[in-house]
Amino acid sequence: MSEDPNDAFFPTEREEATEWLNSLLNKNLRVSVTDGRMFWGQFKCVDAESNIILHSTYEYRFPTSDQLAAAAAAVTASLAPSSSTITSSSALSDPSALSSTSLEEAYDKAAAAGKVKVDLSSRYLGLVVIPGEHITKIELEEFASQVRARNKGMGSGFHGGWRDAGGMS
């Protein structure tokens, strides 16, 4: 689900941009940071430097290369799914933060085995402020039903975005 590089606001479109940011308030965001962690929480506040305040935040840490390798090695033994797992292929969609040779090997192994499930370690943090300088990626969470509704052309609202949403599902 790559983002359309053209879908951005020009500095002159201040009103629209503010309106769009306002529409995101209290929605759940997933914010990834430079050290590879991801934070999930309710969007509460942002400023010009993109310092984001998230409420009721959980910290997610992607498996380390060792863990991933171990899991990949064990993948043939068991493929039982569990609720608190994540498929490595989707979780590691942004490998830039975690690039290392062993990790890539793990990927390869995982790819060879089809699917590897590794626990995503998480921790409750509460209220956090994420300085804009650390942010590598921001994702907006929506219910699948909402996305579908919008794709049908309903409630597209005040922004012309979501062009790539169609290709997602």
Partner: protein, 932 residues
């Protein structure tokens, strides 16, 4: 459609808001948050909006924000900043990994094991000193591996679970040590948690949800340690004798610590309680004799482990004590524990109070564990010192302070059945009411003294209000009781002030008792203020004056009590003189069949430090029955016969004990009063000569500051807080000497200003010198007080009973009686400084072989410090201040005087380090060299 969408959005918003609040509260109150939402829910789709979002933010102007209307920036202050290493516990430095890579299964050499153990010892001590576990022993990779996850059996508890190959012998040693360490921490923690302490201020009890093995029996762990020692000795040839010894000592230390904790919990015999502490102390000596064998293993400790603990706190640095420092603290811990355990050696209530008071007045103060241990020994299950009910100690105290051999304290009163018109029944009833009323305030004194010094002062300020109330209630009870006892009022003459007690009065023993305590606590509050440096140098004159005012009030009050006690003593002697031509001070026996039957004391008489086992069980039984003070040991028929020989305190002995106490209290109060007067005048003098400067204080007046200083006392009706005018007058050196009395009574305002300035610097100097002289003379007497006279009995090492105290008090009673029989005659004059006759006796007492034991030793040290303070005051008056006063009289300016005389107000620590008492901040007044 759009409205629908909006509605849904609003609803969602409200929903999330209320949820958010809950979450926030959870976060605040440390409750478990909801489990983390799964990232792979098919119903939820995540869309990447990075670029759009960032570009949208860039359109905002600096300082402009987009925020939820219900979200306040005030809340935002509490947000954790991601990426800030001081706040974000998950933040990793570039290249840093979250997981610790140390392999706990790697083979260890003996020096490495020793190094790890020594580091653990340092960390353990740091924990005792108040740092959290997370910064101390939970930074050890080995400890973490051992306790997490928690193991069900002791065998399972290992650094590596389900190991396939047998454990390496060195790892066995380390494992045994770690097991012992973790278990002792659990016990220490429990002891502290059970008592009054201040979280974060004294100690951090957080275990971060780590299990500290308190589900394993201590003996099992000690078995592990023992078998590890066997393993170790098998290696002797390989690792060398010294190394074997060094490791073995450390294992022994653990084992002894566990034993010590076990004994405290099981309440083994008091004698045995201190044995493991002695052991630990000597093991430490042995450990320190084998230095330089250890090899440090810094990689076995990591602050990264803190990220796994149940805490949102980011990793904080490990607290590192040097090994020598840790050893010093550890040895002090052992010594203090040995001393603390001696509290079980009970002599009398006043000795007990002195014990706690002096034990806690050490510097550095005993560690929080020791302070909690002391509380545990004192109050566990509301049984005092494991064998006394609160009532027993309180009655003992009442009999020492105000009511020796008094019919109100006769335990037989309890046996009188409920008969509305029986005086004895009424007495028992009223006394019970009083005990219930006063017990808490009484017990609190001990509890408060076990806190850290700042808390002691703070809590005493609250406690005096309780005592104020106790005193008021006691007055009502006194008035009811004096009717029941058909008491006659008595007029007495005060020796201190040489004034006749205004009108004949009643003895009011219970409220007198409460008043005396209140006065004592008030003095402590002021004096702790000096110790804790609450007052600025230019306030010292006023505060020492107030101290002297309080001490004088106490002296007068004790004199009043003494007058009534003497009166009753004389009555007793004249009634017994019908059978004896001359009253013999020792033991005129009053047969129990006589109608007036004073109690013969409690099983805890002055001479029976530890009651036999049967008494202990009786006392325990009596306290376990009901509220603990409803019944008493002697009323239980079964125990009466057993404890009879402990009743050996006759009414005479009881009176002598009480009069001894009153005498030493007057002495103490008189010294405090004289010396406080002297110090106050010294400061007044220095400030009049402008040798102590008043810093500019543009935001307040002296009067406001005075109000603040007196705030703790403003709730107390008696003694009344002096008016600001009176106080001000005294700090300016008006009305010292003869006029003090007049001013205290609140007539100071009547003096004209012209009259006020009459005291010259010279007169002030003379007055101070005189007061110091008086204090010093009185000190000679005080110094000579023996263990019993000073009420510093007990605490002398439990194993010394057999030869230091005879079971039959008949032998001990005369010894105590001899000096104090003379007390009623000599005491008042001693206050004036002529204590020669009794000081000789006191000197003899000082050579008593029992002198210098535990409690009394600390008392002597305390007196020694006092004395050095007095001597210093005398010295500066004789030299520096004298010179300054002379120069002032010659008309020299302040600048000129300053060139010759250097004045400095020392910090209370300096005062302590010089061996003086830090309740007496005597200024440094030095003559600069080359002047003469």
């Amino acid at each position: 459609m759009i409205p629908d969408d909006h509605e849904a959005a609003v609803q969602r918003e409200l929903l999330t808001l209320s949820l958010a609040n809950n979450d926030y509260n959870n976060y605040l109150f440390g409750e478990e948050p909801a489990p983390a939402p799964s990232m792979s829910n098919p119903g939820i789709i995540a869309t990447t909006i990075t670029k759009k979002f960032l570009s949208a933010c860039r359109t905002l102007e600096t300082g402009e924000i987009v925020k939820d209307g219900y979200f306040t920036l005030f809340e935002a202050v509490g947000a954790l900043e991601i990426g800030d290493p001081k706040m974000d516990s998950g933040c990793l430095a570039p290249g840093e990994t979250l997981e610790e890579t140390y392999n706990v299964n790697r083979p260890l050499s003996a020096p490495e094991v020793l190094g790890i153990i020594d580091q653990l010892l340092c960390l353990e001590m740091a924990w005792h000193l108040g740092y959290p576990l997370s910064q101390t022993i939970l930074t050890s990779v080995y400890i973490e591996a051992l306790v997490e996850p928690a193991s069900a059996t002791l065998q399972e508890a290992d650094f590596v679970r389900n190991r396939k190959t047998p454990r390496d012998p060195m790892t066995t040693v380390l494992r045994a040590y770690c097991l012992g360490l973790v278990r002792t921490c659990a016990d220490v923690l429990e002891t502290i948690r059970d008592e009054l302490y201040y979280e974060e201020e004294d100690f951090v009890t957080n275990t971060y949800r780590r299990n500290l093995m308190d589900h394993f029996d201590r003996y099992e762990i000690r078995d592990e340690i023992l078998s590890a020692k066997h393993t170790l000795h098998g290696l002797r040839a390989k690792i060398g004798t010294d190394m074997t010894q060094a490791l073995s000592f450390r294992l022994e230390l653990r084992s002894a610590f566990l034993r010590a904790l076990e004994l405290i919990e099981d309440r083994g015999s008091p004698d045995s309680l201190q044995i493991p502490w002695y052991q630990m102390h000597s093991v430490w000596e042995a450990i320190l004799k084998l230095p330089g064998l250890a090899k440090e293993v810094p990689e076995a400790f990591s602050t990264k482990l803190q990220r796994k603990l149940a805490s949102s706190m980011p990793p904080r640095p490990m607290v590192t004590l040097s090994f020598d420092e840790a050893a010093k603290h550890f040895k002090k811990l052992c010594n203090d524990a040995i001393d603390a355990v001696k509290i079980l050696d009970y002599h009398d209530s006043q000795s007990l109070l002195n014990f706690v008071f002096l034990f806690q007045a050490q510097k550095p103060q005993p560690l929080v564990y020791i302070r909690c241990l002391l509380q545990n020994l004192l109050f566990k299950d509301m049984v005092l010192l494991d064998r006394l009910s609160i009532r027993q100690v309180m009655d003992d105290d009442l009999s020492i302070v105000v009511m020796p051999a008094h019919e109100l304290l006769d335990p037989n009163n309890d046996l009188v059945e409920a008969a509305p018109h029986s005086a004895r029944f009424a007495m028992a009833h009223q006394m019970e009411l009083f005990r219930k009323r006063a017990a808490q305030a009484y017990i609190d004194i001990f509890r408060v003294l076990c806190q850290n010094r700042c808390r002691v002062r703070r809590m005493l300020c609250h406690l005096i209000q309780d005592w104020e109330q106790v005193q008021l209630d006691a007055e009502d009870i006194d008035q009811l009781l004096q009717v029941q006892m058909d008491e006659k009022p008595l007029a007495y003459q005060s020796q201190t002030t040489l004034t006749l007690g205004s009108e004949p009065g009643y003895s009011l023993p219970l409220s007198s008792w409460a008043y005396l305590y209140k006065l004592r606590l008030m003095e402590w509050i002021v004096q702790l203020g000096f110790e804790l440096e609450v007052y600025a140098p230019d306030e010292l004159a006023g505060m020492y004056w107030y101290l002297s005012h309080l001490a004088k009030t106490r002296a007068q009050h004790v004199e009043r009590i003494q007058a009534f006690t003497n009166h009753r003593f004389n009555e007793l002697r004249s009634s017994s003189s019908t059978s004896h031509p001359k009253p013999i001070p020792a033991t005129p026996w009053i047969s129990p069949t006589q109608p007036y039957h004073p109690p013969r004391g409690w099983p805890v008489s002055i001479s029976s430090p530890i009651a036999p086992v049967t008494t202990t069980s009786a006392a325990a039984a009596s306290s376990s029955a009901g509220a603990g003070n409803n019944t008493s040991a002697p009323s239980a028929p079964s125990s009466t016969s057993v404890v009879t020989h402990h009743y050996s305190t006759t009414p005479e002995a009881s009176f002598t004990r009480s009069l001894t106490y009153l005498r030493s209290t007057i002495l103490d109060a008189a010294i405090t009063w004289e010396f406080a007067d002297a110090v106050s005048v010294i400061y007044t003098l220095l400030s009049r000569l402008s040798l102590i400067t008043h810093p500019p204080r543009p935001y307040g007046t002296d009067e406001q500051r005075y109000e603040v200083r007196m705030k703790p006392f403003s709730m107390v009706s008696l003694p009344e807080v002096p008016s600001y005018q009176t106080w001000k007058g005294h700090t300016q050196g008006i009305g010292v000497g003869g006029q003090v009395q007049v001013q205290v009574q609140g007539q100071g305002d009547g003096h004209g200003d012209s009259e006020r300035q009459q005291e010259t610097a010279k007169q002030l100097w003379e007055f101070a010198t005189q007061a110091v002289g008086q204090a010093k003379k009185a000190f000679v007497v005080l110094e000579g007080l023996g263990e019993r006279e000073a009420f510093a009995g007990g605490g002398g090492g439990l194993h010394t009973f057999d030869h230091s105290a005879t079971p039959s008090a008949a032998a001990a009673a005369p010894a105590a009686a001899t000096p104090s029989a003379a007390a009623p005659r000599t005491a008042p004059t001693e206050a004036g400084g002529h204590g020669t006759s009794s000081s000789k006796q006191a000197q003899e007492q000082a050579h008593d072989p029992a002198t210098g034991r535990g409690n009394h030793k600390r008392w002597m040290e305390n007196v020694g410090r006092y004395k050095r303070s007095v001597e210093k005051a005398e010295r500066i008056l004789e030299q520096g201040i004298k010179k300054a006063v002379e120069m002032d009289a010659e008309g020299k300016t302040t600048e000129e005087i300053k060139k010759v005389v250097k004045v400095k107000v020392p910090r209370s620590e300096e005062v302590w380090d010089r061996g003086e008492h830090w309740w007496w901040i005597v200024p440094d007044v030095d003559l600069l060299e080359g002047v003469f």
